[in-house]
């Protein structure tokens, strides 16, 4: 079964391996557009050239890694992918052991750069899971169990950092391959019930500030200067952008620091304030297009592994985009996750770009 050539795609003939890669250039272009737009918005929101340069360097690193991943032969990479999860666990445990700053254990600092192991895990876990589940033609029940337990451990490690939002993503990144790989529906159903039963215990183990965020979500306007401040200010910024926005670097809410975390989690509010509904609509279309193209890769893939990886990574990306935006517009609790390719944050950008590279590599034609 031969692949149909994709629209917007270009074939690249690799000299050494004598094989061809079928690149979907529309995906690369979209990613570059989003990332460059992100750089501009980070500058607008923070007014800091230092942050801009830093993010710019991560962008270049990300671009490089994306192309390396894209031209690599994913079949040869499978053993590496299978064991990637151990790297993730190594760092997750390391971050717990290392002396922490403040109340959370999220960062590992190597010299002047820091990265978040949890960001790494939500990318390594689904790839390893996909590799594990597709190493044999027939998946045994124990395979699913292994993946499920691995996922649960990874989830708990991130959850108790504590990082509410990313832990949910890590959980999702492990569960998606299980379900996509064809776990029978009754199992899925019972696992879901078991998950529900555990929820109250998780709720009790939440820290006060996390619970407060959930409460805040349900009544953001009651105390505008108190806990609902973030959401209220974010909505004011978005609303005041109106149709065309106030113009680049002209948003009063962001420029005068009324928006919290304006260059990271709440950058979407800055975008709408400065570019209006029209800007938001274009951004929505870009993301919709990108995710659609990525899912299309998954659908057209002829290997189980490729389908699992491409499908899971696309779903995770979709989760990030929608959860971040719905949080910023005030229809979802503030869980603290970045907007892919746009929010300031090196680890997320690099990981997202490698993800794209891997998905691109799955379109390899022998």
């Amino acid at each position: 079964m031969q692949n149909k050539p994709l629209s917007f795609s270009v074939d690249i003939k690799l000299r050494k391996t004598n094989s061809k890669i079928n690149f979907d250039f529309s995906i690369i272009l979209t990613v570059i557009v989003l990332s460059l737009f992100g750089l501009a918005m980070i500058y607008s929101a923070s007014g800091s050239t230092m942050l801009l340069y830093k993010q710019g360097i991560y962008f270049l690193i990300g671009m490089m890694l994306m192309f390396i991943a894209a031209i690599s032969n994913f079949r040869k990479m499978e053993p590496i992918y299978l064991n990637g999860v151990w790297v993730g666990f190594f760092f997750l445990i390391l971050v717990l052991i290392l002396p922490n700053s403040g109340t959370t254990n999220r960062w590992i600092n190597i010299g002047f750069i820091g990265f978040q192991p949890s960001e790494l895990m939500r990318f390594l876990l689904p790839i390893s899971a996909a590799a594990y589940l597709s190493r044999n033609p027939q998946i045994k029940f124990s395979d699913w169990l292994v993946v499920a337990i691995t996922t649960l451990i990874a989830f708990l490690l991130v959850f108790f950092q504590p990082d509410f939002g990313t832990s949910a993503i890590v959980l999702l990144s492990g569960l998606v391959p299980i379900v996509l790989s064809g776990m029978p529906w009754p199992y899925i159903f019972y696992s879901f019930l078991a998950g529900l039963a555990v929820l109250p215990f998780l709720w009790m183990s939440l820290l006060d500030y996390q619970r407060e965020r959930v409460f805040t979500f349900f009544s953001p306007d009651t105390d505008i200067l108190g806990s609902g401040w973030n959401i209220a200010q974010s909505k004011i910024a978005i609303g005041s952008g109106q149709f065309l926005g106030k113009g680049f670097s002209e948003g009063s809410q962001s420029q005068l620091d009324f928006i919290p975390e304006s260059h990271t989690d709440f950058i979407f509010a800055v975008i709408v304030e400065e570019f209006g509904f029209l800007g938001a609509l274009i951004l929505f279309l870009l993301y919709a297009f990108l995710i659609h193209r990525l899912l299309f890769v998954a659908r057209m893939s002829n290997s189980k592994f490729a389908k699992l990886v491409a499908g899971t990574l696309s779903i995770i990306l979709a989760a990030y985009v929608t959860l971040n935006i719905s949080m910023v517009v005030g229809i979802f609790p503030v869980v603290g996750m970045p907007l892919p390719f746009i929010s300031q944050g090196g680890t997320a950008l690099v990981v997202n770009m490698i993800t794209i590279g891997i998905i691109l590599s799955l379109r390899r034609i022998n």
Binding site: V179, Q242, F258, A288, N302, K307, I315, A318, S326
Partner: protein, 603 residues
């Protein structure tokens, strides 16, 4: 991986399973899009307004309050720079922490700051600020400036503090300014625009507040989330208050104030020909600057708790029996009503009896003054003579003349003066629940009993004597050109015998000049010739017997000493009324002040 393996993986199943995960995100995605549409397009205008009010801050620029000068252009009241610490509660996340830092920096007690902060912060709306600490010293300002980045919502604002010169001398004329209270705003809504400035509370500061105050300006500022000024968007300048020139003569005022030596009493000195008030004293006085900028509230409490009521303006609000100073007016009423002639003598043996009343009405001199005519009755202040006149005149004969001279009604100098009391039958029935007796008329004849007048009223009434019947409205404001100034006439009293004025004046001159005059003690041939009348106001009516010596034991029950006079008589420059509370002898304590005033002013 072989072909079979690939086929066993059913793509339809996989598609369905992907949708299982994707559907909630697709749903959220569309709800988010709808929400963005809702916020930007449907509610966009509302959020635009909120965003504007977030950043835009309207700051009131207080106008500079007008200065006050005396009639020669001498500065009486100015403004001096004061730096206050203002706080904006909306920018203060943790008040206790901020207050603790401030108490450390400023060296003030935390409890004190706490009580001021929480009493005002709760009433503050939006991004309004209020002064937390007033009159910072240089060291405090330096410490705040160095640490200003550590404490958000705090700023040092320079403002102008009202400052009255010459210590206590001018207190009752000028009055003081104070913060705008909720009651003030209820009375005048426009004050809510200048909440943090001050308005006049008493005296000239209050009466002419509308001139002195000016109009506030506004500055539209852009501020960031911490309240730091980003830029000024628009400025509309304030219109400063206008200066006021008072009729007061600073040097006369200071000179006379010293003569009081802190004794309780009052003085009003005005020009009879214009009504311009040249000096006005109420003693004891206070330093209005204590109230202009309240730095130490215990000082203020002390001031208001003081038994001698230094805040009270005795000159315009103190109501005293005019006593013998009323006699010239009763005398003129008697001549006018033909119950007596200038020459007719009456026997004064110290006592006067009304039929049906065994109680004698005593004169101040135990054995009387012998045979007295009008001149002698004024000079020696015969009570029995005036008992006779009052009896013959009856109330209806006395009252119109006293009314003409302004007794019982406000003179019109300020809205804050008292009207005194000119009693009549209706008043007595209403307020005392009793009928008017002949004895009441007899007491009225010597300015005792129910009649009360303010020192201001006495000065105004005597200006009528000085002007031979014409009384001008007393005035605090200096006319721009005194020479062309036409004073407002408030009374014109005609006597059927025009010569009566001079005859009365002669008698009043002899009060000092004649050997038997009650104020002859102050006679000085170098002094200007003064026409005046002594008075001794009884606070407690004396029953038969020599009880006054017993009453004297309590200094607060001693008689008030009065002297009202004008001079120099050939061209009256000044009419002066002086009352010294519990001073007993008008000739000894009050007359010298009047004499000094006239001599000082007509130099």
């Amino acid at each position: 991986m072989n072909l079979n393996q690939r086929q066993s993986f059913r793509s339809g199943q996989e598609y369905l399973r992907s949708l299982l995960f994707l559907s909630p995100f697709i749903l959220l995605f569309f709800i988010s899009l709808i929400q963005v549409f809702n916020l930007t397009i449907i509610q966009g205008d509302k959020y635009q307004t909120i965003a504007e009010s977030n950043r835009i801050y309207q700051k009131t620029i207080n106008p500079v309050r007008g200065f006050i000068y005396d009639h020669r252009g001498e500065l009486l009241v100015e403004n001096v720079v004061q730096r206050d610490l203002y706080v904006t509660p909306a920018y203060i996340e943790n008040p206790n922490k901020t207050l603790l830092t401030l108490s450390d920096l400023l060296g003030l007690s935390f409890e004190g700051l706490e009580s001021i902060y929480f009493s005002r912060a709760l009433k503050i709306k939006n991004y309004d600020s209020f002064p937390l600490v007033k009159s910072l010293n240089e060291e405090q300002i330096a410490k705040i400036k160095v640490n200003i980045d550590l404490i958000s919502g705090v700023e040092v604002i320079s403002s102008l503090k009202r400052y009255v010169l010459h210590d206590q001398t001018l207190a009752h004329i000028i009055g003081y300014v104070g913060d705008i209270s909720l009651v003030d705003i209820q009375n005048d809504n426009s004050l809510s625009e200048i909440k943090n400035s001050q308005i006049g509370k008493t005296g000239i500061e209050k009466e002419f507040d509308f001139i002195l105050r000016g109009k506030p300006g506004y500055q539209t500022q852009e501020r960031d989330v911490k309240g730091k000024l980003v830029r000024v968007l628009d400025t509309e300048g304030a219109k400063d208050g206008e200066n006021i020139y008072l009729s007061i003569d600073k040097s006369l005022q200071t000179h006379l104030f010293k003569l009081f030596k802190g004794r309780k009493g009052a003085l009003v000195a005005l020009e009879p020909k214009t009504g311009l008030v040249r000096a006005l004293i109420s003693s004891p006085s206070y330093d209005p600057n204590i109230l202009n900028s309240i730095v130490d509230s215990t000082l203020v409490e002390k001031l208001f708790d003081n038994q001698d009521s230094p805040i009270f303006n005795r000159a315009i609000s103190g109501q005293y029996p005019p006593a013998s100073t009323l006699k010239p007016f009763v005398g003129l009423a008697a001549i006018e009503n033909r119950v007596i002639s200038w020459e007719k003598k009456i026997r004064d043996n110290g006592k006067y009896f009304v039929e049906g009343d065994p109680r004698p009405y005593r004169g101040w001199k135990e054995n009387g003054h012998g045979n007295v005519d009008m001149r002698k009755a004024i000079i020696e202040s015969s009570d029995v003579y005036f008992y006779n006149l009052a009896y013959d005149l009856t109330l209806s004969g006395i009252k119109p003349m006293l009314e003409n001279f302004g007794f019982g009604k406000k003179t019109g100098l300020t809205p804050f003066e008292s009207s005194g009391l000119l009693p009549d039958k209706k008043w007595k029935l209403g307020y005392k629940g009793d009928f008017w007796f002949k004895g009441d008329t007899i007491n009225l004849g010597i300015g005792q009993g129910y009649i009360l007048s303010t020192p201001l009223q006495l000065a105004v009434a005597y200006s009528g004597l000085a002007n031979k019947g014409i009384i001008y409205k007393p005035l605090f404001i200096q006319p721009s050109d005194e020479k062309t100034y036409k004073p407002e006439k408030i009374a014109h009293i005609n006597l059927s015998d025009e010569g009566g004025w001079e005859k009365m004046e002669k008698a009043l001159i002899d009060v000092i000049a004649a050997r038997n005059g009650t104020a002859h003690k102050v006679f000085d041939k170098n002094s200007k010739v003064i026409a005046g009348k002594t008075g001794t106001a009884q606070i407690k009516s004396i029953l038969p017997g020599k009880e006054y010596d017993a009453i004297r034991e309590n200094p607060l029950l001693r008689d008030h000493a009065l002297f009202v006079g004008y001079g120099p008589v050939n061209d009256p420059k000044l009419v002066v009324a002086v009352i010294i509370e519990n001073g007993e002898s008008g000739s000894e304590v009050a007359a010298p002040i009047v004499q000094s005033a006239i001599n000082f002013y007509s130099k």
